[in-house]
Symmetry: C2
Subunit: 634 residues, 2 copies
């Protein structure tokens, strides 16, 4: 792509412009620039520049604790909005917290703790004003699945609790250190398609697990994959309790109908949830961290995986709201806030498991947003509401049947299976659809980790394939212009007799140097065959449009050198058009520029074709210098 | 990069050309095309097209056995050249084979077998006419290092032999199946820089191992890393035999001086090598394959790693000679040939270890080339010469002192440390230099595998970083033209008032979508700050040059959608210039094209700027349609 020409049709004089070799930069300077772009792309310190020290301190405080930024201008009107929003999300968070605790095989009361301290931490440190912090089903499932392989929650509940607790601690530490080390971009490697497939798969698995509650089964498999669950369910058909199933499905139907009719209004889950809830707040518990060898690695692994997923989803949700309200979310800062949140709840509360380190899912934040929240104070209100519940209202939650709990979970999970998004992926990008389906199938038929690893691996493979097998096109002239474009995209474009114009569409790296050498040779072969059959002018020039070649390494330089030699042997002239700054720098340093000849490197394809045509028709040795001098005088 | 314009200065009428949406292609067709480009980039079946079946059979035979291609036209003159070349390389191969066998802790005679059958197989199946097949030091070292961790060659020589033998078999099977499955591109991921660093590191390690022979030590470490070897050497200074060291260094000096003076002539290693050589050929030995569990995985791992390195080096060497003589090397075909060679020698000879599956190193092939070889018959001559040696001359090699053997190895290894190439890497591409040094340090301070893994990981990281942190530039107008280029490369270019032109230099994928969103926002912020300070025209248009954006995925589409919304909110107009076929297809399928507006997508940056300028100065709502109609009439 990216080439055209500049002609004065009246005089028909081609003017050629020199391709500039970028001014040399000291190594240290360019290294510093590259490091900055890699780790500080958002330039977080920009506001600190040219400021006195005291001002810097205030700005730094505001940077880590955005509450100082908005608190001074907080008004009573804001408080009214935030109060209503906070109470609303609390009414969602309480039943959700308890349900999701069941998912992670943890005592239900722990679900409530999760909605108490973390929102307070986030209110002070987070940069999103709309994110409602709380528990999330997928994280609960991850806990159950990953820790459940090591320890049986029913047989050894205390160890299981401590492990979950340790995993939360490591997730928090991992998140905070990613943020501090400016490695937030690791989260970017979980693509949108991966998250859609992963969430849908996790939701499917959670729904399958609820068959236990719906069918009133006593025994159930600890595996989460479809095959094991189905085998477990259908091996004990005689145990199914039909009255339980009927109640469960009726309630689920009721939930779905209610939701359908209130689709654009906040959803109030005014239901009670079963559980052995202990009243009151718990003492600190750093001593409960399990730091002994046999389980430590499991806890760390669980912590890291859930930490990354939590971040990916939390940041994505926060960002979509930030876009609506036009403010900025700093990914690395968010990580520090999430991480502190998780470490903190370890300190203050007994067991605050992975599921509670999760930032609020989209639905809860959407409610918060719709309920008119102005600032993160809504999170503080929610925390207070939860605290009141913890202190005084827990007995109320004692009498909910398990089947209702299962129905609530299924109802919530069905919303996570975003089949419309999957259809959209299929329409727009087949490869993303494959990634999404792999994540789904991996989670449903294998495990949560398998799904995640497969999806990330396929996504990375795509990036590597893009570089390993770059597109190469033939460019043709768009009629009545001097613009040259891909002949497949612009079907009305015409090739130039005697000249083959190829565009290379990726950086030339070791991974594609061999491929490009062979592909260029094949293009030339095919073009010569075609010309032989049709009896047209024989091929004399091969123009490589380097406009899209962003970088080149030493393997790429060797490749170009070989191509140049092969062209020389075949008596073809190699011409380069529009090489970028990096490419020119390296052509120059490797002296390849002298072998190709600076006079055979043009600023645009149009100029290159102009020069070739001129030579084809006049057969002068090197008219360009004269042309360019003539132009300079004009 | 990649944009310019087309103006008639006389009339000053901008003409705009529509950006084409590529014609829709059926999914199956485009999938087929992509698979072909990935696995059959060299179109190996092209010559089979439109041929009768009998002809296809002949071509197929020639494809797998190139000997049928050149044998019919073989002349006596060729034989004369090949005979001399064959004898010359045999005189190199015999001492090298024996020396390298010592490196791999194997009986020296096995080194000779390696130079017997493999050249015969390669002569029939290989596509390079100059490659001299034989043993290579690095592979010997790999064997010693990887198998030596499992089995002590001195304590259990039989098991060690069998393991080495099994590893060779797997290396062969792996190579052949890579070739058959068209996965040859995996070898491309070992970049030039990696191989330079790896070879130099391996040579250093081999030289360190020779300290045992030079200093006449009895006991020596089995580890290969620098620290262990140095500790082993300096812990037994009282055991050093000074007479041995003096003899060794003198001989090494003699070798190096001889080589210096005969630098551009074939090197004849007319020296004898120690060993307990058994006369005669050995019976088949498939039953010696070790297929039992504790060692099988080691053998397979060793086989695969050495197999890949052997291929990478062999193909690189073969290709550089092919370039000189202008013929084509087919990577995948070479793999099948190398693989068969290794499987075959397992069948025909007792133990032909990894070191013998290696194709000849550069030096031996260079000798072959200089000695005037015409075809692979030189390999056959060499094989015969080696056979004669095996049958009749082995007793002669009995009386060489070990110290001389060590000197020969050191002399050969010094040639593999290509410090000039490393300096070249530093000059041309700092990142490649880092890759090279990591490979070197990994091999010298860790192990052969560590060096390899580190270098490949860093190389891949570079590819991922290219995509994760793409370059974005501001484009400026090159004076007196309508061409727009990177302002940093073209220091004389000028920015356009009221218009910010950004070029994105990589595909927009999940891995960089967040980065690009933030980076674009930052460019706009910085530009607005600059304009505010200088009091120029405020910013009104942001043009994204998509010329170098080869592809976009759904995360990228969402990113563009967000950028569009943010621009709308900031009252800036988003304009796209020169999107490629893939990008246009996906913009169209995702309906984003309607949100941006087809009238805001231009073929070149020049046209986009023209339209913006026109609007800036006349403030008409949408003049382009009229313009373009006007132009169509002209």
């Amino acid at each position: 792509m990216g080439s055209a020409d500049y002609v004065y049709p009246a005089t028909n004089v081609e003017c050629s412009h020199r391709v500039a070799i970028p001014p040399p930069q000291p190594f240290v300077k360019s290294l510093k620039y590259n490091l900055k772009e890699t780790f500080f792309p958002d330039d977080p310190l920009r506001q600190f520049k040219n400021q006195p020290t005291s001002r810097r301190f205030v700005l730094g405080l505001k940077y880590f604790f955005p509450i100082f930024d908005w608190a001074p201008s907080y008004t009573f009107d804001f408080l009214k909005s935030d109060f209503i929003a906070g109470i609303t999300i609390a009414s969602l968070a309480i039943p959700q917290g308890i349900s999701y605790a069941k998912l992670a095989n943890l005592p239900p009361i722990l679900g409530l703790y999760s909605s108490f301290i973390p929102p307070l931490v986030y209110a002070m440190m987070g940069s999103s004003r709309d994110l409602a912090v709380g528990t999330v089903a997928v994280a609960s499932l991850l806990t159950a699945s990953m820790l459940g392989n090591e320890v049986n929650a029913n047989e050894n509940p205390k160890l299981y609790l401590h492990l979950a607790f340790t995993a939360t601690f490591f997730a928090g530490a991992f998140q905070a250190s990613l943020g501090l080390l400016r490695l937030g971009f690791i989260v970017d490697f979980l693509s949108h398609a991966t998250i859609i497939g992963f969430m849908a798969g996790a939701a499917t698995v959670v729904i399958l697990q609820q068959l236990k509650g719906i069918l009133g089964l006593e025994h159930f498999t600890h595996s989460t994959d479809l095959v094991s669950v189905m085998r477990s369910v259908f091996s004990q058909t005689h145990q199914w309790r039909w009255e339980s199933a009927a109640l469960g499905f009726s309630f689920l139907f009721f939930l779905l109908v209610t939701r359908y009719f209130s689709k654009r209004k906040p959803k109030f889950f005014l239901v009670q949830v079963i559980g052995y809830l202990k009243k009151g707040l718990n003492p600190p518990s750093f001593e409960d961290l399990v730091l002994v060898s046999p389980y430590l690695s499991t806890a760390i692994k669980t912590g890291i995986i859930t930490g990354v997923i939590a971040l990916a989803e939390g940041i994505a949700v926060g960002r979509s709201f930030a876009m609506f309200k036009n403010y900025h979310i700093d990914g690395n800062k968010e990580m520090i806030a999430f991480g502190t949140m998780n470490i903190f709840q370890v300190r203050k509360l007994r067991v605050l498991v992975i599921q509670w380190k999760f930032p609020g899912p989209f639905s809860r934040s959407a409610v918060n947003f719709n309920a008119g929240c102005k600032t993160a104070v809504s999170n503080i209100v929610m925390a207070l509401a939860v605290m009141v519940t913890l202190l005084f209202l827990t007995p109320l939650f004692h009498y909910t049947p398990l089947v209702v709990l299962s129905s609530i979970i299924i109802g919530a999970m069905l919303g996570l299976i975003d089949y419309e998004a999957a259809i959209h992926l299929w329409t727009v990008d087949k490869f993303d659809f494959i990634v999404c389906m792999s994540a789904y199938a991996g989670v449903v038929f294998g495990s949560v980790e398998i799904g995640l690893v497969v999806a990330v691996a396929i996504s990375l493979l795509r990036v590597l394939l893009f570089v390993a097998r770059p597109k190469t096109f033939i460019l043709g002239n768009i009629p009545d212009t001097m613009i040259y474009r891909n002949v497949e995209q612009y079907t009305n474009s015409n090739t130039v007799p005697g000249v083959l114009i190829l565009e290379i569409d990726a950086p030339i790296y070791f991974a594609n140097a061999s491929y490009l050498r062979e592909r260029i040779a094949r293009w030339v072969d095919e073009e010569e065959d075609r010309l032989k059959t049709s009896g047209e002018t024989s091929l004399q020039y091969v123009i490589l449009d380097m406009g899209a070649v962003g970088n080149i390494d030493t393997s790429g330089i060797s490749m170009l050198e070989e191509v140049k030699k092969v062209m020389d042997r075949r008596e073809l002239k190699l011409v380069l058009a529009n090489p970028g700054a990096e490419v020119m720098k390296k052509l120059n340093k490797s002296k390849l520029i002298d072998k190709i000849g600076l006079e055979w490197i043009y600023l645009t394809v149009g100029e290159a074709v102009g020069a070739c045509n001129f030579l084809l028709h006049t057969c002068k040795p090197d008219p360009l210098k004269e042309e360019s001098e003539a132009h300079n005088k004009v």
